[in-house]
């Protein structure tokens, strides 16, 4: 049996579906966060010496950094689908994902800065990863700024989608330029990280929290997309008939 994907691309169908999924994602996010933090804080103390306690910030820092990058890919994916198939829902999804992505970017910068202050003795340096993260923040802000600067929603959607696509073409180039501007020397404050070097308890907490952030992103993006749907479709019959609208 073939699934009619375009059926779910209609806001009217997607709205209730998203509504039903939000609680699941929200609860998963809460449970996993609690578990991850518990594990990170109470099951790992033995391996961290006293001056290394701040290392625990890794449980927020690294998942946030991962999510920030992944969400940009998601954003661009929706943008491409929107431009190709001209489905309104994809634009709405893109617009709904952006603030969460920006938030994680900021979170990773913020936690990284604190970590840096304690670990490297400086709030900020021009380490490649840090620089890339900063630029990612600019890209998110650019997307949101363009979207909010245009108040014809159709134009706003399409223009900012195009920007996201241009961004995603250039993002690898930008990151690659920052990481290795000179083929001979790739000095960085971040060590060449690999999972092997990380203690398994820490790794577990980190991974659990990554999944928790992921679930959180789903829940928040769905909530936001539902709001966007309500606002944009407020003049349609089906929105007027919704119980939460007509009361």
């Amino acid at each position: 049996m073939a699934i009619n994907w375009f059926k779910y691309a209609s806001p009217a169908t997607f709205y209730p579906l998203a509504g039903r999924m939000i609680p699941w994602f929200a609860w998963l996010a809460i449970i996993l966060t609690l578990f991850g933090l518990y594990w990170g804080f109470f099951e790992t103390p033995s391996i961290l010496t006293d001056q290394k306690q701040y290392y625990r910030i890794i449980f927020v820092h690294v998942p946030a950094a991962w999510m920030s990058m992944w969400l940009y890919v998601v954003l661009a994916g929706w943008a491409i689908i929107g431009l190709v198939f001209n489905t309104r829902l994809s634009y709405m999804m893109a617009a709904a994902v952006a603030p969460t992505g920006a938030m994680f970017t900021f979170l990773s910068l913020w936690t990284g800065a604190f970590w840096g202050k304690t670990s490297w003795g400086t709030w900020w340096d021009w380490d490649p990863r840090m620089t890339s993260e900063l630029i990612l923040l600019f890209l998110y802000v650019g997307y949101m700024a363009l979207h909010s600067a245009i108040d014809d929603t159709r134009r706003a959607d399409r223009a900012s989608a195009l920007l996201a696509v241009v961004g995603v073409v250039l993002v690898p180039v930008i990151f690659w330029s920052i990481n290795c501007p000179d083929p001979n020397q790739c000095a960085a404050l971040h060590q060449q990280s690999s999972f092997k070097g990380v203690e398994s308890n820490i790794l577990l907490a980190m991974l659990v929290l990554s999944i928790a952030f992921w679930m959180y992103s789903f829940a928040v993006a769905f909530m936001r997309v539902r709001n966007i749907i309500l606002e944009r479709e407020r003049n349609t019959q089906w929105v007027r008939e919704l119980p939460e609208v007509c009361e």
Partner: protein, 223 residues
């Protein structure tokens, strides 16, 4: 098709020469920014030599970006852009012609003036050649990428400064490799070639993709 390219190119250059100042202002802006730095930073030649390549490239970025705003805005305001969208030729051609004119008027002068800057910042002779070459390869990329931003922000209030927000992050690779090439030429001649090669690759990519992205952006913005 070539006829269209030629007409648009000639038109934009004619428009610029009508106001003679236009041709020179990007250049002057560049020069002024470059000259402001020693005033703010101090005039020790060691420091200047150190920051010279970076300053030149940042100034080039800003000059190119500043001029970008006008790329489509005035055509948009008086309705001629609408007419260009109705030209019976691919819009990408028109865009490419406009960007070419823009580069000839704002990018090329920077390339030609480069040696003068070399003097201001005490850069050695060989470096100046590299700088010109790097600017020659890099500034068209700036114009091409910038055009996309200019098209997207068309007719928006605060367009000028919104463009910078969208476009400056995308300029970063050019900045890094451009100033990298110049810095490298002061230390190690061999690495220069790799830098220039990468800049060339950027240019090729930009020429192929940017006009079409810009055209798409224009269609969205004019609607």
């Amino acid at each position: 098709m070539f006829q269209t390219f030629k007409t648009v190119l000639a038109r934009d250059i004619l428009l610029a020469t009508r106001r003679r100042t236009d041709v020179l202002t990007a250049l002057f802006f560049f020069l002024i920014v470059i000259s402001l730095f020693p005033l703010g930073v101090g005039i020790e030649s060691e420091v200047l030599r150190r920051i010279g390549p970076g300053v030149v490239w940042v100034a080039a970025l800003l000059a190119s970006m500043l001029a970008l705003e006008r790329l489509f805005a005035s055509d948009f305001a008086d309705g001629t852009l609408e007419q260009m969208l109705l030209v019976p030729q691919p819009l990408g051609i028109v865009v490419f012609a406009k960007v070419t004119a823009h580069w000839l008027l704002t990018g090329l002068p920077l390339v030609l003036i480069a040696p003068l800057i070399g003097l201001q910042y005490h850069l050695p002779g060989a470096t100046q050649g590299v700088m010109m070459l790097a600017l020659l390869l890099g500034t068209p990329v700036l114009s091409l990428i910038g055009a996309i931003g200019a098209a997207l922000t068309l007719g928006l209030r605060g367009g000028g400064i919104l463009i910078s927000l969208l476009v400056l992050p995308l300029y970063i690779p050019v900045l890094i490799y451009g100033s990298g090439a110049v810095s490298a030429s002061m230390m190690d001649g061999a690495a220069v070639q790799a830098y220039l090669f990468i800049l060339g690759a950027f240019l090729l990519l930009a020429v192929v993709f940017s006009p079409w992205a810009t055209a798409a952006a224009l269609r969205i913005s004019v609607e």
